[in-house]
């Protein structure tokens, strides 16, 4: 609980009870026709202090057992029982302290038995403790619903932002227009290749639209898209792009987040191959390692630190793995052999498949 909230609570407690005591003491001569005596002030002080003390314990009970988080119909009986015990507790404390301090004359005390006295004092305390509980409860009720509203709004904004970002990350418009340009040139040069290229591009567009709806896809499905993607990039880069696959067939059924491999391969082209004058190699490896499905994407090129523009693809890969597999999945990217970048994903193997 933040410090200022607890401070606020104490001000309310002391202020509220203090104000009440002051009013009772000052109004005593007019209402009860009793003069203000030391004893009266003492009695009031005992009521106030025992009130603060007992309601504070009540508050601790409410907080520790989380009654405020319960729906109203479940919280109500608990609060009623709570109020009952608090009233009796308050009465006991008051009676004990009053007797110990000798604030009421023995004669007056002996006139009534203990049980009726406890009952009346409890009812007396109830007059204060019931409003106290109502104030406490409604304050938190309003506060909670306001916080909930705020959280919902925040969450909605976050979801929207993520959606937009993922859509953007899924297909790079630069790639689409370059592919279309290559295909247009191919129409005259190699009509058959142009036709397959259009099919490949359609596959990629379709799968990226479906990707939003699915949590995971089989590796095989994802690999097919990546193969289409790389075939298209090969039209663009020609000899500058070499492609190698090393796929363990048993891994084809493994579940992976949709478009994850695609994003990593796109990065390999965008930040690796397309920056090398002589091009290079993109290699995709999929196999089992211990209890993990291991995916490795290597490409010629250099890791250029953490430039802002490049960050999103990698950050979203990490996030998605974490959301889907928690701490059990692993992702890293590093430079090996001086001129090769290696991205590696470890996903817990799904042995049921």
């Amino acid at each position: 609980m933040p410090k200022n909230v607890s401070k606020y609570y104490w001000w309310c407690q002391i202020g509220g009870w203090g104000f009440l005591a002051l009013v009772l003491v000052l109004s005593s001569p007019t209402i009860n026709n009793q003069p203000i005596t030391d004893k009266l002030i003492g009695l009031m002080a005992v009521s106030v202090l025992s009130g603060i003390f007992i309601t504070h314990i009540f508050r601790e009970v409410i907080r520790r057992s989380g009654w405020l988080l319960l729906p109203v119909e479940k919280a109500l009986p608990k609060f009623l029982i709570g109020i009952l015990f608090t009233c009796i507790g308050a009465a006991l404390v008051r009676i004990l302290v009053v007797d110990a301090l000798n604030l009421v004359s023995l004669a007056a005390r002996n006139k009534v038995n203990f049980m009726p006295r406890l009952l009346t004092t409890s009812l007396d305390s109830g007059l204060l403790i019931v409003p106290w509980t109502l104030i406490y409860y409604f304050y938190h009720y309003i506060e909670n619903s306001r916080k909930q509203q705020l959280d919902t709004l925040k969450l909605e904004a976050l979801v929207k932002e993520l959606e937009l970002k993922t859509i953007k990350a899924h297909i790079n418009p630069h790639f689409i227009f370059n592919a279309l340009n290559s295909i247009r040139a191919l129409v005259d040069e190699n009509p058959a290749r142009a036709r397959t290229a259009i099919t490949e591009l359609s596959n990629i567009l379709r799968s990226s639209m479906q990707a939003e709806k699915l949590e995971t896809v089989t590796f095989e499905k994802e690999l097919n898209i990546v193969k289409d993607y790389l075939a298209l990039e090969h039209i663009r880069f020609e000899d500058r792009l070499q492609i190698e696959y090393d796929i363990d067939e048993d891994t084809l059924d493994q579940p992976i987040p949709p478009m994850m491999l695609q994003t990593l391969v796109e990065n390999a082209i965008k930040h690796g191959i397309s920056k090398q004058v002589d091009g290079g190699l993109v290699k995709i490896v999929s196999d089992f390692k211990d209890d993990y499905h291991e995916l490795m994407i290597t490409n010629t090129g250099y890791l250029n630190g953490s430039r802002n523009g490049d960050g999103f693809g990698l950050a979203s890969t990490k996030n998605r793995l974490q959301i889907l597999f928690g701490q059990r999945a692993h992702f890293d990217i590093r430079e090996v052999n001086g001129n090769t970048v290696q991205a590696r994903v470890l996903i817990p193997a799904d042995l049921s498949k």
Partner: protein, 244 residues
């Protein structure tokens, strides 16, 4: 006839553009280049009238390549969708084509180029005696961080030496280029650009006021308000030039 070079790292993209240019008989594609360094080489040896330039290329971008050139030819940029390049174009009002190129847009871009040439005929390079000297109608491409400009030399009023760089004053801008003042002096037309002192080269056509100064020197006030001192030795030369 406009002699053009296509610079793009993709063979198919170059082919596609060549094919589109067949409809424009006034354009002759004299060479192609697949990256920035090849591009610089071909521009230096062939001095084309026009280049079609891709922005995203391996090694250096099209912008980087242009700022390496002594003399910037007319440029039409070509790019597939690229947020950063598009922003640069908008900021600097450069002409660009989006790939796949729409024939109509290509025609517009070429026509705009023709109009500009009619208005202010670009010096015919085959006639100019010494090609290494930059004519005042020549333009240079200046890049300073995110911003870039094509600047006509006649619009530059002042070059100021700042370490290994030179600060180029034109309009309200004064970007830095990586060139020494001595190297610049060698390339500039001495009839227009005058070395006033160790640190400054001024454009004689853009002087606002001339005043006498200490020690028989002169103080020049440029059109942009900069005050430049002419050293005593250069003052003699300056007076000679101005008196014809």
């Amino acid at each position: 006839m406009i002699r053009a070079i296509i610079i793009d790292d993709e063979r198919l993209a170059r082919n596609e553009l060549k094919k589109l240019l067949l409809d424009f008989p006034e354009i002759e594609v004299i060479a192609e280049a697949a990256n920035a360094s090849e591009g610089v080489e071909k521009i230096d040896t062939l001095s084309p009238d026009l280049i079609f330039l891709d922005i995203q290329m391996p090694g250096k971008t099209g912008f980087d390549m242009l700022s390496e050139l002594e003399r910037a030819p007319n440029v039409i940029f070509t790019t597939a969708y690229d947020e950063y390049a598009l922003k640069a174009f908008e900021v600097n009002a450069l002409d660009y084509l989006l790939k796949p190129v729409e024939p109509k847009r290509l025609a517009d871009a070429l026509q705009k180029l023709q109009l500009e040439e009619d208005k202010e005929p670009i010096s015919d390079h085959s006639i100019s005696v010494n090609r290494s000297i930059l004519n005042e109608h020549d333009q240079v491409f200046v890049k300073d961080g995110e911003r870039c400009w094509f600047v006509k030399l006649s619009d530059i009023r002042l070059f100021e030496s700042v370490g290994n760089y030179a600060k180029v004053y034109f309009g309200p801008n004064k970007p830095l280029i990586l060139k020494s003042l001595n190297a610049l002096e060698e390339r500039l037309d001495e009839k227009v650009f005058f070395r006033a002192n160790r640190k400054h080269i001024v454009n004689l056509r853009l002087i606002e006021k001339i005043e006498p100064y200490f020690n028989g020197g002169l103080l020049l006030e440029m059109k942009g308000g900069e005050k430049i001192e002419v050293s005593r030795r250069q003052t003699v030369k300056f007076k000679e030039m101005m008196s014809l």
